[in-house]
């Protein structure tokens, strides 16, 4: 049975994708997209890259043009967070109450911080964060970044491009090693150093204090790094606070079955806030990537309309990309589980390379830098193909 009204709470890539897919599948009922930020839905990946460096502007990173929503009858309620879910009753911060037949939770996640935020102790998750950071970054600004992951690495590259003096602090011995293995991680840390970023590894940030106009970053090994500005790139926390008392099963994210359904009838969850059950792994996993969000959105839209989602070869294979120092890093599958690797294009000492990852004789992942075609063409084969792959010519 098709619902008459669907409310999607969260207006970023996952929420917008659910709305679009519902209309594409022929849903004719009322469709509301609620977002806590005042901005029209925008794309987050550019925030740490071209938006931060000033190569693009907020009006150019919109997910859709304004007419897209009006043409499709998608009602936007922006600048107002949802504060409570009771069954399928959604209460907004301004007192409005929505009572649809189906609710999609797509409230995303927020950045983990290093303390009470202040203008010089920041995170980078939303458009306002990026614009704030951009205003503060100038030639010679001392930027200290805690965390060498996606946000940290991309912000470091962007800040260097703006002439800032950058220190990157990573708790692990090597950033990205837990995701891509030591060899590729070593190849990825080199450009930071070549660009003049001070990289301190193996020592987490313990505390940040402000004194005399300077941020003092105390590391676990006793070092103190001084900066004008401190950015925490320490991962994210799912936005589930508004779901307290809803009866939903919440762990690291809203627990869903393998198709996005929650414990409440008519309530689904997608994107960074959702932890879908992965039958292959036997546990719930919260994916925080653009591709996962759009794939989940399609599954949930089909489900809400009572259709069975179409199986897509390679769907569900984790994928991420990261742009740093003008190079694109891409990863598919689960390289972190590999027991064997092969460089199939270029070399780890060069700018461009692709690595395949195997485990117990199966291809389980592919990753590379500036080697998009060499990485991406393996997606359908991952989890199915024997490893090492037989040469097929051309790859």
């Amino acid at each position: 049975m098709s619902p008459r009204e669907v409310v999607i709470v969260g207006a970023s890539v996952a929420g917008v994708a659910v709305a679009d897919e519902l209309r594409r599948l022929g849903f004719e009922g009322r469709l509301v997209l609620v977002g806590d930020e005042p901005h029209p839905p925008y794309d987050r990946p550019p925030l740490s890259k071209d938006l931060l460096t000033g190569r693009t502007e907020p009006d150019r990173i919109r997910l859709r043009e304004p007419a897209h929503y009006t043409d499709r009858g998608i009602t936007l309620m922006l600048g107002v967070p949802a504060v409570r879910l009771d069954g399928r009753r959604v209460e907004l911060a301004d007192g409005r109450v929505l009572t649809p037949d189906a609710v999609v939770i797509a409230t995303g996640a927020r950045a983990r911080s290093l303390g009470e935020p202040r203008p010089t102790l920041v995170t980078l998750r939303g458009l306002d964060d990026a614009l704030h950071l951009r205003r503060r970054l100038a030639d010679g600004t001392r930027l200290v970044i805690a965390g060498g992951g996606f946000i940290g690495a991309e912000a470091a590259a962007s800040a260097r491009a703006l002439g800032a003096d950058v220190t990157l602090i990573e708790a692990a011995p090597l950033p990205f090693a837990h995701l891509l293995g030591d060899e590729m991680a070593a190849a990825l840390v080199r450009p930071h150093r070549e660009a003049g970023v001070r990289v301190l590894t193996g020592t987490p940030v313990q505390r940040v204090d402000r004194a005399g106009g300077t941020e003092n970053v105390l590391l676990a090994d006793g070092q103190v790094v001084h900066g004008d500005l401190v950015l925490a790139g320490l991962g994210s926390i799912p936005n589930t606070g508004w779901l307290d008392g809803s009866g939903l099963d919440i762990g690291n994210g809203v627990r869903c079955d393998a198709t996005g359904a929650t414990a409440l009838p008519g309530v689904c969850a997608v994107g960074d806030v959702a932890a879908w059950y992965e039958p292959g792994l036997g546990r719930h996993v919260r994916h925080e990537h653009w591709t996962s969000a759009t794939e989940q959105a399609r599954t949930v839209a089909a489900r809400l309309l009572g259709r069975s989602p179409k199986a897509v070869p390679g769907a569900g294979v984790p994928y991420f990309w990261s742009d740093q120092y003008g190079a694109r890093i891409q990863s598919l599958g689960n390289p972190e589980l590999a027991d064997e690797t092969h460089v199939v294009h270029g070399s780890l000492d060069e700018g461009s390379f692709a690595v395949l990852y195997g485990r117990e004789g199966r291809l389980i992942g592919a990753a590379g830098r500036d080697a998009a075609a060499h990485v991406m063409r393996h997606r359908r084969a991952i989890t199915a193909a024997p490893f090492p792959l037989q040469p097929t010519g051309g790859t």
Partner: protein
């Protein structure tokens, strides 16, 4: 169906290749190239998947009947 690429939007993620490697390739300039302009059957389905998977919405699918 006719498949075209908005070359201003394409950023070379190669997501299209990951779901439809018979329909798309990356050219030397890292911009997607269409190998099968009028895909049929399964290839048409793959082209639709590719359009949905493109991070920059650079794949344009035109209905032949229009």
């Amino acid at each position: 169906m006719r498949v075209t690429i908005d070359e201003d939007k394409c950023c070379g993620y190669a997501a299209c290749l990951s779901v439809a490697e018979k329909v798309f390739d990356l050219a030397a300039d890292n911009i997607a190239a269409v190998l099968v302009e009028h895909p049929q059957g399964e290839l048409a389905d793959q082209a639709r998947e590719a359009a949905a998977a493109c991070p920059t919405s650079a794949i344009i699918l035109l209905d032949d009947t229009e």
